[in-house]
């Protein structure tokens, strides 16, 4: 399946998430779109069972068997590739029931390795939508040599892009769900003897909601095509898609809730399943400030005339 096709599925999952519909389970996305393809790329043979991921920073990773007489540019070298890891993997999606594929800076460059939560101390938690976000504390966690993979910076970068883009695709789905529920609501809820959708003030807001959701969808779709074509080079497109998806959340959730009235603020409506996810997902895998700063830096590191080339992806 091509990346755009896979992303279309992810988007559907984001649209139905939490509704009990079979397609709608977020950890599936973490497995199928991010962790598994990258583990395969790195030729990591993992035991069966679901996968999730963490792009970790701030871990202390050292060689399990340092060769004290062999000091290279990156400090001591290892006798083999086995590692020992200390630190925290914060708010990992569904970690309590999955193997965590970790990408981090190791002593000799980027590494990829799996972490079995059973051998860590697990602090369970949840995001605003109640999806599991578990923090794992690793104290001298041992990674055997056959499971520690040095990887290229490109692979690490593609890891981050896939994570961000799949999150953005989930968000596009949830945004679409906000539109569906709101349009259905304003078509059926009667006030002043007419459906809400009849009133100009309602129409104006509803159109903005539809537009903002379409905007996120278009950015995600285009970034998916770019990732398919360019791999880790699709930095600009993916950053734009996640930055925009996150930036659009406030407006999408605001309008959807406003047009629902009180019922949307309660468990009587399904709207919360979409909006609480949007409020969480906008922060996950890099928020809009993180990705916008990257775009801004990219724009400022080239000649001003190149700004347009950056936007069009054509030089």
């Amino acid at each position: 399946m091509s990346i755009p096709q896979q992303l279309a599925r992810v988007r559907t999952a984001g649209c139905t998430a939490g509704t009990g519909s079979a397609a709608g389970s977020a950890p599936l996305t973490e497995d199928t779109f991010v962790a598994r393809p990258l583990a395969e790329r790195a030729e990591l043979a993992l035991r069966e069972g679901p996968l999730t991921y963490c792009l970790a920073t701030g871990l202390v990773i050292r060689w399990a068997h340092p060769a004290v007489f062999h000091v290279g540019p990156a400090g001591t070298m290892g006798d083999d590739a086995a590692l020992r890891v200390c630190g925290t993997l914060p708010r990992v999606p569904g970690a309590r029931g999955a193997t965590v594929l970790v990408a981090a800076q190791g002593p000799g460059g980027p590494v990829l390795f799996p972490v079995d939560p059973a051998r860590t101390s697990v602090e369970t938690g949840a995001n605003l939508a109640g999806e599991p976000r578990d923090t794992l504390h690793l104290s001298d966690y041992q990674v055997p040599a056959e499971l520690a993979r040095p990887v290229t910076p490109e692979l690490l970068s593609e890891f981050e892009l896939r994570a961000a883009l799949s999150r953005a695709a989930l968000m596009a789905g949830a945004a679409q769900r906000c539109v569906q529920l709101t349009v259905a609501h304003t078509a059926t809820r009667i006030q002043f003897g007419r459906p809400l959708g009849h009133f100009q003030a309602v129409k104006q807001e509803e159109a903005r909601l539809i537009e903002e959701s379409a905007l996120v969808g278009a950015a995600v779709e285009a970034a998916g095509e770019a990732l398919e074509r360019l791999g880790a080079e699709a930095r600009f497109e993916v950053a734009a898609a996640k930055a925009q998806a996150s930036a659009s959340v406030a407006e999408i959730a605001r309008i959807a809730h406003q047009l629902h009235g009180a019922i949307g603020f309660t468990e009587l409506s399904e709207l919360r399943l979409a909006t609480t996810r949007l409020w969480s997902w906008r922060d996950e895998d890099g928020d809009e400030a993180y990705w916008s700063a990257r775009l801004g830096r990219a724009a400022l590191t080239q000649r001003p005339e190149q700004l347009w080339s950056l936007l069009t992806g054509a030089n």
């Binding site: 129409k203 905007l215 285009a222 734009a240 930055a243 916008s292 700063a293």
Partner: protein
């Protein structure tokens, strides 16, 4: 948009960029905001035409490039991003040409299309009137039958370029009906014909693009009725998809963003400046993708009215937001009297044009009505 990544389009884009850098060196392309409204430069239009970049989407038999909408989009987005002076041929290329191609007689096609593609024939839009703004169907300009043609009487308002263009496509009432959408027709009116009187209306900047366009019993021969008598409303609404979705609906202020990046690139930008600039880039990227989607639909002959309305509302709001955000990124007093091309001068120009972005081509409030109607309709059917 994989079609946009094809070798031909990439080559075309490079060619336009080479041309633009020559024109920059020549001093014609100056990175001006809103250059499709006020950048009137007939010689530049002709140089574009010589390269085949006017009337690109027209069939070859009528002097066009036979290249489709996507190729045209590549060229015009490059021109707008560079702030090139394209207003002389703008309406002719974007609107009059496809209208005449779709509705015109063979004689009209032979007469106007090759001239448009050569950059020798410029058009105005004569739709709005004093009493017919958003409510366009209430136009009061009348066309009465006379021997061999029609006599047009009334006053159009806001007619851009009527003082310097060659023709206008005028929407006029040809008969009375209960349903106001019936009985409207379009005419191609020679702006130098007897009875035409053009009176300037200055913009708040003092610039002259708008006019009152008086038609005091202007005689229009039969051959200049565009399309069928009474089909004016359908023809006008068909035009609007072309008018609403193009890159001019989100790029009008892009040259100001280039200007602020130029200012910032000599300094160490703060984190906040980077984030704000990046957020604008993300939104521009996203709107562009939506707009390209409409171009692809038009290219394949699929209906795109609703998508076009959506692009226009998002894109034109962004044009205005960009101005205010740029001012936050790098605060400076906007100064229309500063040296042309400097940041304070470009900021003033883009700012003083902000009221136009969300009004022209059908106000955004009206467009939002179109969007909700369509979505509700779809929802009811599913």
């Amino acid at each position: 948009m994989t079609a946009l990544q094809s070798v031909q389009t990439l080559e075309l884009r490079r060619e336009v960029r080479r041309f633009l850098s020559e024109e920059r060196a020549r001093g014609t392309v100056l990175g001006r905001p809103d250059s499709w409204l006020t950048g009137w430069h007939p010689e530049f239009s002709r140089r574009l035409a010589e390269r085949g970049w006017v009337g690109m989407a027209l069939p070859k038999e009528y002097g066009g490039g036979g290249l489709g909408f996507l190729a045209r989009v590549v060229v015009i987005e490059e021109l707008l991003a560079a702030g090139a002076p394209v207003s002389a041929h703008w309406v002719a290329d974007r609107q009059a040409a496809p209208s005449i191609l779709n509705h015109g007689s063979e004689e009209q096609k032979k007469r106007f299309l090759p001239a448009i593609a050569e950059g020798r024939c410029f058009f105005s839009i004569g739709m709005s009137e004093e009493q017919a703004g958003s409510d366009l169907a209430s136009v009061q300009t009348r066309a009465e039958r006379v021997a061999g043609g029609w006599r047009l009487t009334g006053t159009k308002k806001w007619t851009g370029g009527a003082h310097c263009n060659d023709y206008a496509i005028v929407l006029a009432r040809t008969s009375e009906h209960e349903d106001r959408h019936q009985g409207l027709s379009q005419f191609i009116v020679d702006l130098r014909a007897p009875g035409v009187r053009v009176e300037p209306i200055r913009l708040l900047t003092g610039e002259h693009t708008f006019n009152y366009f008086h038609l005091d019993g202007v005689e229009v021969p039969d051959g200049m009725l565009l399309g069928k008598e009474g089909d004016g409303w359908a023809q006008v609404t068909g035009e609007l998809a072309f008018e609403r979705s193009g890159p001019e609906r989100y790029l009008s202020t892009f040259p100001l963003l280039v200007a602020v990046v130029r200012e910032l690139s000599d300094k160490a930008a703060t984190a906040d400046q980077q984030v704000r600039l990046g957020a604008l880039m993300a939104r521009l990227y996203a709107v562009r993708q939506l707009s390209l989607g409409v171009a692809a639909a038009l290219d394949e002959g699929r209906p795109a009215d609703v998508q076009a309305a959506l692009v226009k509302d998002l894109g034109t709001r962004l044009e205005g937001e960009l101005v205010h955000e740029v001012r936050r990124i790098l605060p400076v007093a906007a100064d229309a009297g500063a040296t042309p091309g400097t940041y304070p001068e470009l900021l003033a120009l883009a700012l003083l044009h902000t009221p136009a972005y969300t009004l022209r081509g059908g106000t955004n409030e009206i467009l939002r009505g179109i969007i909700t109607r369509a979505v509700e309709h779809k929802e009811q059917q599913s």
